[in-house]
C-alpha cells in the first residue's frame, strides 16, 4: 500500500473542513459495525440532515490519524462546521435536548423520541472482532 499517513491525515482534514456535518464511524450508516456508531448515525438520521460518513475500519491508520487530529480516543466522532462535537454519548445527549438540531441548524422533529429510534444496547452489537485497536 502506497498511501502515506501524511496523505491520510490530509484527506481527513479536508473531509472535516469540506463537509458541514461529517461523521467518522465503524461501518456505514446503512451497515453500522458497532452499536455506538449506529446510535450516532441514527440520531443524525432522525434529524433528517444530510451528512457525510466515513468508515474508519478499512485501514487502522485512519483511526490513528483521526484521533491525532481530534485528540479524541474513540469512534464514532462527529464534526459539525469543522469542529469536533463528540462521540455517541454527547451526540445522543445533545439530540435529546435539541442542542444537536440547533447546532446543525435544523428543526428538531416533533415526534422526536427520548432516544434515537434504532436503540439497542451498544454492547450487544459491538463484537470485539470488528474493532481495530490503536495500540497495535
Amino acid at each position: 500500500m502506497s498511501t502515506t499517513n501524511e496523505e491520510i491525515r490530509k484527506f481527513l482534514e479536508s473531509a472535516i473542513s469540506e463537509n458541514e456535518v461529517m461523521l467518522f464511524m465503524k461501518g456505514t450508516p446503512d451497515q453500522p459495525r458497532c452499536g455506538f456508531s449506529m446510535r450516532t448515525s441514527a440520531a443524525l438520521n432522525s434529524l433528517g440532515v444530510r451528512y457525510a460518513a466515513m468508515d474508519i475500519l478499512p485501514d487502522p491508520r485512519i483511526r490513528e490519524e483521526l484521533s491525532a487530529i481530534s485528540d479524541w480516543p474513540t469512534i464514532p466522532q462527529l464534526f459539525v462546521h469543522g469542529k469536533l462535537v463528540g462521540g455517541c454519548d454527547i451526540v445522543t445527549e445533545m439530540y435529546e435536548t435539541g442542542e444537536l438540531a440547533d447546532l446543525i441548524g435544523v428543526e428538531q422533529p416533533d415526534d422526536a423520541e427520548p432516544e434515537p429510534p434504532s436503540v439497542e444496547p451498544p454492547i450487544q452489537s459491538a463484537p470485539l472482532g470488528l474493532e481495530n485497536r490503536l495500540s497495535d
Binding site: 455506538f36 485528540d71 479524541w72 480516543p73 474513540t74 469536533l84 462535537v85 463528540g86 462521540g87 455517541c88 454519548d89 454527547i90 445527549e93 445533545m94 444496547p121 451498544p122 454492547i123 459491538a126 470485539l128 474493532e131 485497536r133 490503536l134 495500540s135
Partner: protein, 86 residues
Amino acid sequence: MANLFKTVPTTDELKHRIQQALPGADVQVEDLNGGGDHFRAEIVSDHFQGLSRIEQHKLVYDVFGNEIGGAIHALSLKTSTPGGTQ
C-alpha cells in the same frame, strides 16, 4: 469470569481513579455487560464547571489514556456539574 484476565479493571478501580483525578467528584461506575470492558460512568463534579461537554469528557478520558480502546474497550460517560448539566 472477569478473573480470567488479570488486566481487567473493576468498577471500583475505575471509580477510584476518576475520584483521584477529580477530587470530590460523585462517581457511579457500571460494568455494562459484566465482562470488564464496557463501562458506563456518571460523574458529577465541580471540576466540569465552565467546560464544554467535549472538554468534560476529555478530562475523564485523560485519566485512562490509551487504556480506552485497549483494556477498557468502551467507557460511556455522562458528566455534569452539581448545579446541573451544561
